[in-house]
Symmetry: C2
Subunit: 374 residues, 2 copies
Amino acid sequence: MSLKFDLIATDGGARRGRVHTAHGDFETPAFMAVGTAATVKALTMDQVAATGTQVILGNTYHLMMRPGGDLVEKMGGLHQFGGWTGPILTDSGGFQVMSLSNLVKMREEGVEFTSHIDGGIKHFLRPEDSVHIQHQLDSNITMVLDECLHLPAPRDRVEKNVDMVTRWARRSRDAFVDRPGYGIFGIVQGADQPDLREKSARALVDIGFDGYAVGGLAVGEPQDVMFRMIAHTTPLLPMDRPRYLMGVGTPLDILGAVERGIDMFDCVMPTRAGRTAQAFTRHGTMNMRNARFRDDASPIDDGCGCPACKLSRAYIHHLIKCNEILGATLLTQHNLWFYQDLMRGIRGAIEQGRFAEFKKEFIENYTNKKIDND
Amino acid sequence: MSLKFDLIATDGGARRGRVHTAHGDFETPAFMAVGTAATVKALTMDQVAATGTQVILGNTYHLMMRPGGDLVEKMGGLHQFGGWTGPILTDSGGFQVMSLSNLVKMREEGVEFTSHIDGGIKHFLRPEDSVHIQHQLDSNITMVLDECLHLPAPRDRVEKNVDMVTRWARRSRDAFVDRPGYGIFGIVQGADQPDLREKSARALVDIGFDGYAVGGLAVGEPQDVMFRMIAHTTPLLPMDRPRYLMGVGTPLDILGAVERGIDMFDCVMPTRAGRTAQAFTRHGTMNMRNARFRDDASPIDDGCGCPACKLSRAYIHHLIKCNEILGATLLTQHNLWFYQDLMRGIRGAIEQGRFAEFKKEFIENYTNKKIDND
């Protein structure tokens, strides 16, 4: 294994760890800020780092389309290109091919698609191509190409999916060039079928990866189904490898997934919300466009140390009303700060063996509901 | 006088000074970043300060419409509202009433207008109202309300303008509440008529202001007319008061105006250019959208210390192509940094008695033309 992972502490199913990469370490449970096109939207990389973010995620689909893997490689890789010196994980491009492009055909060999970005030229992305592009990007953590099903899906469709993405995972593993401080993660599929999740997990562990993602969740299923699939999957994965729940999620999703043994998360939620006037606070979310904030001199969240919280809700509201870029910048930074505060809280609680208590307190504050029985 | 000004050095007509306000000092010649709606567009106030900007300009017209003088006052003034702790100058709103609103009527009493912002409600702005709103904003430097003519203008129109704005200036001076570290500037009008400029200047000096602006220039007239009007006006103004050329301008405008005794400038050019892919460099401007930057690994300007210049032209180009907010942020900060580098250079050169040499070198680099005779 080329990517070192230390498991520092556990508390029930929750794990406290550290991933070592060629571009520095990150503490787990970790929330990765989404930096789609070599930028975490509306922020400088210094502003991202100030939130406590230690690792960012790049989207291979967007980067292969613009500016292209060759260009990023020529510019010295994604770290140098975008100015983020810390660890970077890239997805495979598969999810966006299916959600953003015009999917032409899914074949055993790979996936054929067209994109509006380059005027509809036909592209073909094989597992080996995705690994190669992520290599060009100099990504510290490469994800295998997979096919993400929408839920619910018929069982025979899920079976075929698990078999094919297992073959793709092996091809990806073979194509990956091992380097110290770089790794490749497999992705467990199997939709909402426990036995197929198990089949997928065992096959990936057989191949052997630097870490394991739980994929194909948070795609429309109820939260309890997601939690059940996670709880079913994580015991099948090696203790000494990090586990990543892709595309998740809300603060409550994260708490429930950490409890079930997940170490890494990414989600557009805090950053996208920051561009649509939504602010996260310990007491839930607020729409800063709301007229009740017009003359509110208090900060968004008086427990927050971010630059936006040195200013008033009235000022943030004013910026939103005037469509000022700074509104998006301040709210995005605040929301990421909030997420990273949550992750710091989670990590500290696991170290102290009081994760369950932390989770209960957080949820009570966040939902403004007393929890009698957790 | 409630606003202290030290004249530190002179070099020909060029002056090196310092203005002391209740919110700190700023060095002159000074370039004020335009912070229209309590934000320098696309930047945090920390990012503005990092450029070397020491004083910002707020637009009374925008602020009176949104969020309103009462609200800003209630929030503790513009410094506290927007988080800029340094000196702030505000314009009177007069220029924007004429350029942005639907001007209904100009009368001796004041100006009547409607605005699209609030759905066409009728507003009436008298000189006293403008001073009062700027007081509510807690502006360190209040500007008198004036009427800015477009050039060319018929002589009798200019004569009437000078007479009326002189009466308005007196009303503004009377309405202004003197406080230590706060001041009010008169504005010399007179279009391109030297004798009317003289009449205006003498009348304003008789009233007595903390500083004097040269107004009604950079409104379409040739640069040599502007320079001639400045050269004609500044000797009529007291040596011990700062002089402000409103809404100017290009780097070459600034150099020519400093040479003729101007101490303060403001212009949307560097910030607006930053939102339209334009970058200022020592060798002229560049459009970063241009395809030739696609794979250019060099920084925008290798002599610049700003955050954008730690990254490549290729990256900036990529951000622009993808319409990423960070493109506007980085370019705006770069351009302001460039302007403040210019001002630092100007101030240093005046101190060393080599302003003429500095100007010649700068222009040769900037225009890529050798100057034989300056």
